[in-house]
Symmetry: C2
Subunit: 154 residues, 2 copies
């Protein structure tokens, strides 16, 4: 099954967090599971903060890119368009909020889930959670805004 990010046009696939063409990046993959989108990611050993725990900036990055991907997928769905149709829906982050509820263990896969709270005009608001082995470690809220086609040399 193709992930949301596998449908991004090549020139929008360089992102450090979610670009499949960035060899240095995280290359996250997001999918629908019912009403929610989900992304599973295995941090590398060096994605640490305090030894034994995952880096908070990584957690913010996962929530951020998973949500911009979810915003694109939700917009295709709302428009009744297949995800490989053009012009591509592509979103940037207007605001990102992360509450770190407890230290996130390093060494296990992390699961990020997101749900669209509002989709109106060019703006999508999402709530996200990040858990490790079923335990909720962080909560996030992302406001994403659609990049106008043609901007950024697209």
């Amino acid at each position: 099954m193709k992930a949301f990010q596998d449908f991004y046009p090549e020139d929008l696939s360089q992102c450090y967090g979610c670009g499949r063409l960035n060899p240095h990046g995280l290359q996250i993959k997001s999918y629908w599971e019912g009403e929610e989108s989900v992304c599973r990611f295995q941090p590398r050993p060096y994605h640490t903060s305090i030894p034994g725990y995952a880096y908070g900036g990584l957690i913010a990055s996962l929530i951020d890119c998973h949500c911009t991907g979810t915003a694109a997928a939700a917009s295709y769905h709302a428009a009744g368009r297949p995800m490989d149709s053009l012009p591509a829906f592509r979103f940037v982050t207007a605001s990102l909020k992360v509450d770190y509820l407890k230290p996130t263990p390093l060494g296990v896969p992390l699961e990020v889930r997101a749900r669209v709270i509002e989709l109106k005009g060019r703006k999508v608001v999402m709530q996200a959670s990040l858990s490790a082995e079923g335990e909720l470690c962080a909560r996030g809220e992302v406001v994403a805004v659609q990049v106008p086609p043609g901007m950024f040399g697209e």
Copy 2:
């Protein structure tokens, strides 16, 4: 001049964002400039989002780690203790909020500035800004909480 992060004990210097002993990480350096703390960072070419622009997760990471460092430095200052004295003040992030005001150009050094808004008990609240060549690109707010000595195997 030594940066805040140069004073972290070795076992707390592994952080991907600010640990001087993490060879894969960002190794940010923060200093006082009057009442504000400042961190200058040159993103690598692969720290991109949309081509030509810096990755939002990197911006969140810079604000996050610069603020936990600022929280530690401000706590030493408030306690009238030198930064190499033990037990070490070390903070983790309880919440992180970033507003992306405009796309941040890639290829130029970024400057993160932070200011302590509240320092009470084990909690420090800070406001931060991120600019590129004098232009404000993002604003952040961080709530950091002191790690109790002895926690996390310190």
